[in-house]
């Protein structure tokens, strides 16, 4: 468990190096999500996307990437919305420890 001051007021990690699977669970819990296997699949995919493309995905490319990597049944926005309600790309990226977005999109 990281202390509260490791996060900013919006719950983003101040230092990305602090991220670990345990920290991901901590961020998710603060967002009201208990991470199961299906969540982890997406969290890991988001980290892979970030490594590959040096950016956090918007919703559309995330859906497409899920379809490519995990199969067509998971490449649907409804599937991601069920796991990460509201804004799956943003919420998932936060849990995956990707950089805080600048609200560009």
């Amino acid at each position: 468990m990281l202390p509260a001051d490791a996060f900013d007021a919006e719950g983003f990690l101040r230092r990305l190096e602090d991220w670990s699977p345990e920290v991901a669970r901590q961020i998710a819990l603060a967002e009201g999500i208990e991470l199961g296997d299906a969540h982890w699949e997406i969290v890991n995919l988001l980290r892979a996307y970030y490594q590959e493309f040096d950016s956090s995905p918007a919703m559309r490319p995330l859906v497409k990437y899920c379809g490519l990597k995990l199969g067509a049944d998971k490449g649907r926005s409804i599937y991601l919305l069920a796991l990460f309600p509201g804004s799956p790309a943003k919420l998932g990226s936060k849990i995956a420890g990707l950089p805080k977005p600048d609200n560009c999109l």
Partner: protein
């Protein structure tokens, strides 16, 4: 000329990836167009063709890697990507090793592309 092309936006990238230029803002704009499902075509011209260099390493400069970001364009359904063939030759950039599939255009095809788009942002 299709209806899509008359409505769409052409982004002309003229700056090298890690100089003082606007390359980063251009890539952000292209991705934003994709995210908003706004039809867009990209043209790499002049020193802009250097953005298509393989094995570039922006991370070693403490910056985001433009090549890696361009590689995500197909996931944003941006597939109309072109480059000035003459500039490609001058800068030694060839399409087969580009981080994103891009079609070379000769001078005549370039003129046609510029005419076909309703609006052009050059940066």
């Amino acid at each position: 000329m299709s209806d899509d092309e008359t409505r769409s936006l052409l982004l002309v990238f003229r700056h090298s990836p890690y100089g003082e230029g606007l390359a980063r803002a251009g890539v952000d704009l292209a991705l934003a167009c994709g995210a908003f499902e706004h039809p867009v075509s990209l043209l790499f011209a002049g020193a802009g063709v250097l953005q298509l260099c393989p094995r570039q390493d922006g991370n070693s400069l403490g910056l985001k890697d433009i090549g890696k970001q361009l590689a995500s364009l197909p996931l944003y359904d941006i597939e109309s990507v072109y480059f000035d063939a003459e500039a490609g030759t001058r800068y030694g950039v060839s399409p087969q090793d580009s981080p994103v599939p891009a079609e070379p255009l000769d001078a005549q095809a370039l003129q046609r592309l510029l005419r076909e788009h309703r609006q052009i942002i050059s940066l």
